[in-house]
């Protein structure tokens, strides 16, 4: 013992191993017969996620099943992570449409600016989080994949209704 360490005589009920043991056993038994389990059984049960959840993207389509995108170029312009690749094209009637529209979900920071800036309400961030893939290439979503997504989309923050009521 280091010289000068004061040895404090603690009261018996604090140092008694017997009482502490019995108390501990009572406590563990109480938990054993009456556990308050808080675990969510994940694949079966899912925690609800926020309406403003910003997950992987989804491209909305019009009635004919074509992407609503008019290839205006605003989303690649505003994207802070530079993850949207857009090559615009034009058909015979002069309507612009995306020839190539790819989002690299690895680069994406899920800020939701693309959804906010889109004049056609075509590109959206989705309320979705199960994104596992077997390859890195699988995380570059092309137009076909983006339009095929069915998960609900994010409801952006509305300045007129800040609390979402």
């Amino acid at each position: 013992m280091a010289i000068g360490v004061r040895v404090v005589a603690r009261p018996v009920e604090q140092v008694s191993y017997m009482r502490a043991t019995l108390k501990g056993m009572a406590l563990t038994f109480k938990h054993l017969i009456n556990p308050h389990k808080v675990t969510t059984q994940y694949p079966e049960e899912k925690e609800p996620i926020s309406r403003r959840w910003r997950g992987t993207h989804r491209m909305l389509t019009d009635e004919t099943g074509k992407a609503k995108c008019v290839a205006c170029g605003l989303c690649p312009q505003i994207c802070p992570a530079n993850c949207i690749k857009l090559v615009p094209g034009e058909d015979e009637e002069g309507n612009r449409y995306p020839l190539v529209y790819e989002i690299d979900e690895f680069r994406c920071i899920f800020c939701g600016y693309c959804q906010e800036v889109c004049p056609e309400e075509a590109i959206h961030v989705g309320r979705h989080y199960e994104n596992a893939e077997y390859s890195r290439a699988g995380f570059v979503y092309d137009l076909e994949r983006l339009t095929a997504q069915t998960h609900p989309v994010c409801e952006m923050w509305d300045p007129a209704d800040p609390k979402g009521e």
């Binding site: 043991t21 563990t28 054993l32 556990p35």
Partner: protein, 428 residues
């Protein structure tokens, strides 16, 4: 040989008397061995699941519930995994002992159960079959001898791995087992004194005719219980594999089925220790308050009932093991040694003297073993247990990392320090 065997089986023997022919004895023993081994192995597999489930419930979790109904197939999945896994050998390990060690841990663990009677004798067409693999007349001594062999497996595993953590684990386990074996052996002397025999069936008979030794010999039970925890390396005495200090202790370097064998050994040791506790202190397969099950005529119903009751009692103690494990933290090494040598050993010695004295006095007074005898022993025990509890309760088990220093000693140390040239100015 075959002919005589068939003949022996065909001839109708008296079901209430032990079989006369050797072949019946051999066949019955082989069948019992297979049954006991199977039950033990399946039980061990289910115990691993029970351990995980109970730990989960105590910690407000769900536990394994993916494989099979409520995780019931988890042991099978674990076993399959362990069999498929690669066996690794450290370069520096001493291979022969490295391979031998798991077997040395496993075999004694399986052997000990052989002498524990698990039900009343079963009457069959070939004669009365005792429900114990080997009805040894020296049953209890055999158990003491075999359980201490288990430590070799652990020590050799620790040494042969050529790993400092393994070696420390092995050393700890040898010190721990040797220390607690003494307390364990001494605590059972009281049981043997009361029973007047070392055959486990006679100990059960004595408890059936008087009271269970738990009531008559409470302190022996407590000492035996604590020592059994230490002997099986279970928390709070799992220093040989103390994860936070020694990685995994003696089985750090083991993988796949070899690791699994240590695991099985630990759990079957638990089963044996529980069965032994039940046999020595809770009447074994005896149904309390009645002698119906302890006497002829034997019947299959009696065998089944007593067997079930025995299983129930053993399961309770297995649960108790797990309950304690998930309640108490690990002892520090010096606390473990101090509890073994400075508390349990003197208490056990003293207890033998007191019990022997009480028995002698009762004998002189002419009180025959029976109800009164049991009650007197029980009262003596209650008093002793109370005194023990009060003494242990006064904060004497947990020692601080250093012993208490008396004021006088402290003054002397301080004076010594002030004279030292190394003393820093400014006191403490």
């Amino acid at each position: 040989m075959t002919w005589s065997l068939t003949f022996a089986l065909l001839q109708v023997a008296n079901p209430q008397a032990p079989p006369t022919s050797t072949s019946v004895f051999v066949i019955a023993t082989v069948i019992k061995m297979i049954i006991v081994f199977t039950v033990l192995m399946v039980g061990v597999a289910l115990l691993t699941l029970a351990e995980r489930k109970i730990s989960a419930w105590i910690q407000d979790r769900h536990g394994p519930n993916r494989v099979g109904w409520h995780g019931l197939l988890q042991p099978a999945a674990d076993g399959l995994k362990n069999i498929m896994k690669e066996e690794t050998y450290p370069d520096a390990a001493y291979k022969p002992l490295f391979i031998l060690a798991p077997a040395l841990a496993f075999i004694p663990a399986m052997m000990t159960f052989a002498v524990i009677p698990f039900a009343s004798p079963l009457p069959t067409g070939a004669g009365l079959i005792e429900m114990v693999v080997a009805p040894l007349p020296i049953g209890f001594l055999y158990i003491l001898a075999i359980t201490s062999l288990g430590v070799y497996g652990i020590v050799l595993a620790g040494w042969a791995s050529n790993n400092k953590y393994s070696l420390l684990g092995g050393l700890r386990s040898s010190a721990q087992m040797v220390s607690y074996e003494i307390a364990m052996g001494l605590s059972t002397i009281a049981v043997l004194l009361v029973a007047g025999n070392v055959a486990l069936n006679d100990i059960i008979w004595q408890q059936a005719t008087t009271v269970w030794n738990f009531f008559g010999l409470t302190i022996a039970f407590i000492i035996f219980l604590i020592a059994a925890f230490a002997e099986t390396n279970r928390l709070p005495f799992d220093l040989p594999e103390a994860e936070s200090e020694l990685i995994a202790g003696y089985h750090t370097e083991y993988s796949a089925m070899k690791f699994s064998l240590f695991f099985i050994a630990e759990y079957s040791n638990m089963v044996t220790a529980s069965a032994l506790l039940v046999t020595l202190f809770f009447g074994g397969w005896d149904i309390p308050f009645t002698l119906w099950d302890n006497q002829a005529p034997w019947s299959i119903l009696k065998t089944v009932l007593t067997g079930l009751l025995f299983a129930g009692k053993v399961l309770f103690f297995l649960f108790f093991y797990m309950w304690i494990r998930w309640t108490l933290p690990r002892f520090r090494y010096d606390q473990l040694m101090s509890l073994g040598w400075r508390v349990l050993l003197p208490v056990a010695l003293l207890y033998i003297v007191v019990i022997a004295g009480t028995l002698l006095i009762l004998d002189l007074l002419g009180v025959r073993p029976g109800a009164t005898h049991g009650i007197i022993l029980g009262v003596v025990n209650l008093v002793l247990a109370g005194i023990l509890f009060l003494i242990l309760d006064s904060g004497r088990i947990i020692s601080p990392a250093s012993g208490r220093v008396h004021a006088e000693q402290l003054r002397r140390l301080r004076a010594m320090r002030s004279r030292s040239p190394l003393a820093a100015p400014g006191g403490d």
